[in-house]
Amino acid sequence: MTGRTKIYLYTRYERFWHWIQALLIVLLLLTGLEVHGAFRLLGFKRAVAWHETLGVTWLVLFAFFVFWLFTTGQWKQYIPTTKKLFEVIRYYASGIFKGEPHPVKKRPEAKHNPLQRLTYLGLAALLLPVQMLTGLLYWTYNSWAAWGLGFLSLEVVAALHMLCAFAILVFFIVHVYMTTTGHTLTAHIAAMFSGWEEVEEDEVQDWERARKGV
């Protein structure tokens, strides 16, 4: 492993949150698509019951995520930027095929490249909240009239929930694929288990050079 070094990138909580979230997304997608009539796996009744329980579990997990985000200041990792955004896009569109290095290095204080920042911000601030809101509304359909929400249409709420579900599924596919783009196919996934990510050493050398220059 010459030319590379290990840094501790993902804390225990982050890893726990990430994998529970991944599990919940898979199960929510499976049960949700069954309720939607895409296939038959558990049977409608059990699919609905699991979807409800998983959905509420998700809300609790998300609440912990938001708490963690703001108490640790990690929300700053999600501030969007266009700096080097196009370099990253260009890297995935062509550079990656030529064996070029990734234009943005991972560091504990900057875990996400500009493309990831945009994607994760879109997820955490828009897609997931809309999915949670439409899911809650869908679940509480019978109370709409009592809550003064009688003007809502179940068809619209269900359609929005499906739209977000498809978007999450697309994200999931691409996200899982992107984990294979590390220096080995499983490098990123291993990092999400252990917390330690192997990064290229020259980054450290850069940093050291900067120190020397001071």
Binding site: G37, V48, G99, E155, A165, F166, A190, F193
Partner: protein
């Protein structure tokens, strides 16, 4: 790596253990010492074993020991003590055969001008039809509805099981042993003293004597009421099923509660109950609805209870009707009148039931019938012989009222009896045929529609152009008996599916059935596109890496 994920797994395990399981798997006690659904607990509380007691032994009454030779004589003896009974009974549907909530001039009811697609109408055919009237002698339109002695107390109250009204004697039993040619059965005159001294509260066989045999035979009309309900097992009806089979052994009056001889139940456009109330909300409410005892939140699962506002219990809990005896589903009068060797004949069809009868036309019978589902607010519209019809489409002689936008309407299962029935092609009204009688105009005597229809319409004083044809007709019965054990109730996906039982009910979004087609296409296109995209990207990476290596070597 594994040492690092161990705490995470521990947390996951903690979450899994401490978080409530999905409702279907939850073991939450609903009430002390039981894990039964609330609706069952409530219903059981509301229907504890009845300790009925009476203070009179009717076999000891001198009034019932006198010699009787006719029904009215027995009735007079009854009324000598129960002096309000006939006055009460005269005001009920069982006597008038008219819907009390419709305007009297519309004459809605089988005692009026209502037309069905079985034997069509009562008028001009009374002696045959009124064998099911709880009265004596309604043989024509001159029957005296005010005569207390004409009330038949026995048909509802006698307990010997031997009291039979002759099928064609206007509600009278035979006065001497007589064979009914239609079924070759011999009817004996009643042992008046025995039947009179046996009286008590109505039992299933009393109600069933008419309600199981409506339309002139067992299981013809309702589909959910036939002689199999006299002594059913729990598998056929959880409430009326015998104790041995695990049922509750209810008789009809257990739910069809009665006030002043008015028996709870739907009457044409009059709903069985005006408000949806349980006995907890009103202890004197009739027990006629499921909710009366089971409440509006009968299930363990909250999501299941979310259905009860718009889905009638019957929709899921009566998966099929006519589960023992086949019921008539189609009756085509237009083919009646064919002769074999110059004589009327019958053809035996499948299920041991006739498929053709010269007197009546073609029949279809079905067993284990899946109901049709419609929005229903408890009221049914009826067509009378005075109403204008549109023969370009099936005429809905009886049809459920209610729609999705009606907050009182729920999805309800129905038997729909279809047929072809005579109508006036000029006046565009349904016609009353004179079927039964010894006169030549009667269809069952001469098999001549023109004469029979003319006689029938003259009898009810309604115009007939002389031009007639047969029109498709539909007649509904709400399916409400034959409640199956809970493990036989419908599974969710029998409705929550692309082509489920509610496929034809429009106006609402139902998960599992409905979708925004364009969105689904778009979504799956996106999914396939992203799979293809990352697949191609991955392939390109694999190839470029190999080339890269080859270049180096």
């Amino acid at each position: 790596m594994f040492s690092a994920i161990r705490p995470a797994l521990l947390l996951l395990a903690l979450l899994a253990v401490s978080w409530p399981a999905p409702p279907a798997l939850a073991q939450v006690p609903a009430a002390p010492a039981t894990d039964e659904a609330q609706g069952r607990v409530m219903a059981r509380q509301a229907t504890k074993e009845r300790q009925l007691w009476i203070t009179a032994d009717h076999s000891k009454h001198e009034a019932l020991k006198q010699p009787f030779t006719s029904g009215p004589e027995v009735t007079k003896a009854c009324l000598s003590c129960h002096n309000q009974a006939a006055l009460q009974f005269h005001k009920t549907i069982h006597w008038t055969w008219l819907d009390p909530s419709e305007p009297p001039d519309r004459k809605v009811g089988k005692g009026g001008l209502t037309v069905n697609n079985f034997c069509v109408a009562l008028a001009s055919n009374e002696p045959r039809c009124t064998s099911c009237h709880a009265g004596y002698g309604w043989k024509d339109k001159n029957f005296d509805f005010t005569d207390p002695a004409k009330v038949d107390c026995l048909v509802c109250h006698e307990h010997t099981g031997t009291y039979k009204k002759f099928p064609t004697m206007a509600g009278n039993p035979a006065s001497e042993p007589t064979v009914f040619p239609e079924d070759k059965q011999e009817y004996l005159p009643p042992d008046w003293n025995a039947v009179a001294q046996s009286v008590g509260r109505p039992e299933r066989s009393n109600c069933g004597a008419c309600h199981f045999y409506g339309g002139g035979g067992d299981a013809v009309k309702h589909g959910d009421l036939d002689s199999s309900m006299t002594n059913p097992t729990k598998a056929l009806d959880v409430h009326m099923g015998s104790k041995e089979s695990g049922g509750q052994n209810f008789d009809c009056a257990r739910c069809h509660t009665t006030k002043l001889h008015n028996i709870a139940g739907r009457i044409y456009s009059t709903p069985a109950a005006k408000d949806r109330k349980s006995l907890v909300q009103d202890d004197l409410a009739p027990k006629i609805m499921c909710e009366s005892c089971h409440t509006a939140t009968p299930h363990k699962s909250a999501k299941m209870n979310d259905h009860t506002d718009r889905v009638a219990c019957q929709s899921c809990h009566i998966p099929e009707f006519a589960r023992v005896i086949p019921t008539k589903m189609r009756w085509d009068w237009s083919t009646a009148g064919k002769m074999k060797d110059g004589k009327p004949f019958k053809t035996d069809g499948p299920l041991g039931k006739p498929s053709y009868d010269t007197k009546k036309g073609d029949f279809t019978w079905e067993k284990d019938v899946v109901p049709e589902y419609y929005w229903f607010n408890g009221s049914i519209t009826n067509v009378t012989a005075k109403d204008k019809i549109d023969p370009s489409k099936p005429v809905r002689l009886a049809w459920p009222r209610g729609e999705r936008s009606d907050p009182n309407a729920r999805i309800m299962p129905f038997k729909v009896h279809r047929g072809k029935t005579p109508y006036d092609t000029v006046n565009r009204t349904m016609l009353v045929p004179h079927l039964f009688g010894k006169d030549d105009a009667a269809y069952w005597k001469s098999y001549d529609w023109a004469t029979a229809l003319k006689a029938g319409m003259e009898y009810v004083n309604l115009p007939f152009s002389g031009q007639f044809d047969f029109v498709e007709t539909e007649y509904v019965y709400p399916t409400t008996h034959m409640v199956a054990p809970k493990d036989k109730a419908l599974a969710c996906e029998q409705c929550h599916a692309r082509t489920g039982r509610l496929a034809n009910l429009a106006g609402f979004y139902m998960p599992g059935r409905d979708r925004v087609t364009a969105l689904d296409w778009l979504g799956w296109l996106g999914v396939i596109g992203s799979v293809a995209g990352v697949g191609l990207h991955g392939l390109a990476r694999a190839f470029s890496r190999r080339n890269h290596k080859e270049d180096k070597s």
